[in-house]
């Protein structure tokens, strides 16, 4: 396969040039003998993008999503590698479940699916999962995502143990006491609507805890889906001192504020919740100055009947894989001009690859031929009816966006292209 005349952006190698890219036998090559030529003129040829925060719901909740449908959604969103969270049923807290997920992915997924393992048994936050064994079967990180270990001592031991095993720790930052039964951000809108709110301090407290533990244990803790201005400030300060801490941003936390909840639409209910404009502004600054280094979707599929209930009783989360890249290009590169497209690609490739020690995210000669072709100027409308995901719980239906993936190549084969 030859990808012809594209603008090849490979941040790992500091490369940004219009050039032909050859793929042979599933690897980036000097030249290719096969006849397939892809015209990429006017397009960006990027290393296959990585989304390191996805819920695939299998095993246990295949009515929401399967590994196969989630992988198709990823491909349609321009992602060649996705990292799936362990809050399945049974939870991915044991080697057998991890093996099952990997087998299932191998037989049914059109993109690379990398599992994470749980930090605690059954994600209950009480005793450690067999982190060493999970490492042996190839999890790329440990996390209790969706839950947060409240016992600081247990978290400390988990981080120490993970350091030995060589796995980064990903954390959903939520102090249960401060968050209480909150379902939205605590502020003007929660006051107006009488919905239980949870304050930004409930996230910031755990981010601060994680910074202290990362220092204490000298090991990496990654703060997932950062939503609050204070979290950005804490991470910025800690990183400036060389603490092994990082932060991740989801598109909804910069595309929307808590004003969106005013009609009690459960497609605006996620955890952490949509926060204020002040928080959005701080996150944008955090992306601009490198404090927040990872972009991810927190793709959280739920069936329509599960979301179509009273607001405080609905499950948290929205699907994101198929709108994520469009939203980030549109908002970060075009609208707010916080970063350029090269940095955006870097945040989707080099940054997660480095954090999770993945053999991915580059177009180096001999690298696995995962690539995403992006048209950064293409104007399109997000439509939930066109989603590859099994679920439709998105607040972005009908949004007009600029920029998207047009072709996704995994292992040298096109797994999806824009019709």
């Amino acid at each position: 396969m030859i990808i012809r005349d594209g603008r090849v952006i490979d941040p790992a190698n500091g490369r940004d040039e219009v050039v032909d890219l050859a793929i042979a036998e599933g690897r980036i090559a000097e030249k290719s003998n096969d006849a397939e030529v892809i015209d990429a003129s006017g397009l960006i040829v990027a290393p296959g993008l990585i989304d390191m925060h996805v819920h695939l719901r299998e095993p246990g909740f295949s009515h929401k999503e399967t590994i196969a449908s989630g992988a198709r959604a990823a491909a349609a969103g321009g992602f060649t590698t996705i990292v799936c969270m362990p809050n399945t049923s049974p939870a991915a807290d044991n080697p057998a479940t991890i093996a099952w997920i990997k087998d299932r992915a191998a037989e049914s997924a059109c993109v690379n699916v990398l599992p994470t393992g749980a930090i605690s048994k059954n994600i209950a936050g009480e005793e450690l999962a067999p982190i060493g064994s999970l490492g042996d079967v190839g999890v790329v990180a440990i996390t209790d995502d969706g839950k947060c270990i409240q016992n600081h001592e247990l978290m400390r031991r988990a981080v120490e143990y993970a350091r030995m095993v060589g796995l980064p720790v990903l954390d959903h930052c939520q102090d249960y006491n401060l968050a209480g039964n909150g379902v939205v951000n605590e502020g003007y809108w929660s006051t107006l609507l009488g919905l239980p709110g949870w304050p930004a301090a409930g996230e910031e407290a755990i981010v601060a805890r994680n910074i202290l533990l990362a220092e204490l244990c000298d090991h990496h803790i990654h703060c997932q889906h950062v939503s609050a201005a204070g979290s950005v400030r804490l991470i910025r300060e800690a990183r400036s001192r060389g603490v092994k801490i990082s932060g991740e941003v989801c598109p909804h936390h910069i595309a929307l504020t808590d004003e969106a909840i005013q009609n009690f639409d459960t497609n605006y209910k996620m955890n952490p919740p949509l926060r204020s404009q002040k928080d959005v502004d701080a996150i944008l600054e955090g992306i601009a100055d490198g404090t927040l280094s990872i972009l991810a979707s927190d793709h959280a599929p739920h069936a329509a009947f599960e979301k179509e209930v009273e607001f405080d009783q609905a499950p948290f989360g929205i699907v994101g894989l198929e709108t994520e890249l469009g939203l980030f290009i549109d908002l970060l590169v075009h609208k707010h001009r916080k970063i350029d497209i090269v940095r955006l690609i870097e945040m989707f490739t080099v940054e997660p690859a480095k954090l999770l020690k993945l053999d991915a995210g580059t177009l180096s000669l001999g690298a696995k031929a995962d690539a995403t072709l992006i048209d950064p100027e293409l104007e399109w409308t997000a439509k939930i009816d066109n989603f590859q995901s099994n679920s439709r719980n998105s607040p972005f239906d009908g949004w007009k966006l600029k920029g998207r993936a047009v072709r996704t190549i995994v292992n040298g084969k096109t797994v999806w292209q824009l019709a």
Partner: protein, 309 residues
Amino acid sequence: MNERWTRKDLLGLRELSIDEINFILETADAFKQVGAREIKKVPALRGKTLVNFFVEPSTRTRTSFELAAFRLSADVINITASGSSLTKGETLKDTAKNLEALHADILVLRHSSAGAPQFLAERLKSSVINAGDGAHEHPTQGLLDAYTIREKRGKIDNLHVVIIGDILFSRVARSNIFCLTKLGARVTLVGPSTLVPRDFEKLGVTVSHKIDNVLPDADVVNLLRIQHERQRKEYFPGTGEYTRLFGLTKARAKMLKPDCLVMHPGPINRGVEIDSEVADGSRSVILDQVTNGLAVRMAVLYLCGGIAT
């Protein structure tokens, strides 16, 4: 003929215009007068079926809606949470769709989740009347409070209304705030800082934690029930301290202007938020509120239920 009412649902007072609120109050005047007739029943909603769907218990509000519906000649069914399929795991939407399939024209919903009435209103052809949703709104209570103030004081504009108690968890407080500020009243919220957080100032009201500074200037004092039993040990230390700091005691009542109204949405905790003598005193219009609630609910049922759908 009537451009002033076009809604099939009453979900809250925040979304109503001043004109719409005044129109409900004027309509309630006509229905209040029905209560003085020899035959206290009019055929306005004859043939209509009203379902009182109370997922959270409330004898007082349910009875008021039931009587209002009887006086409008509607047929009434009462459903409570324990008697509904909700306890068998049926969703709210499915339960409501089933009621609609039985040709329920008006659904009066009391629910513990904020937004539940709007959720149903968007999915049903039937009229949906919010009889209290979580800590969100209790629009007919807000209207009957406004009606009572207007009746007793002749106006609402420029009056100083003081709402005392558990504001944070109170739907009554929110409906009162939205309604009274629209009608031109000055509203002050009083209570412990944990139950009257400063975020409320963004709703266009004043927040105070010193009741003695506020009472002498009040034209209306509306006391909310303090619910220590199901509540919130972490929000205030106990009813004894609450009464000492925020109770409308006999001694404090002496600070009130002679024509100040004392209101309470009930049920009253005598000796906690209000002393017995004050609740039964000359300034108290607590029973007028109950009577006016009937007229206001008749007006609301007539307006929402009378619109062709």
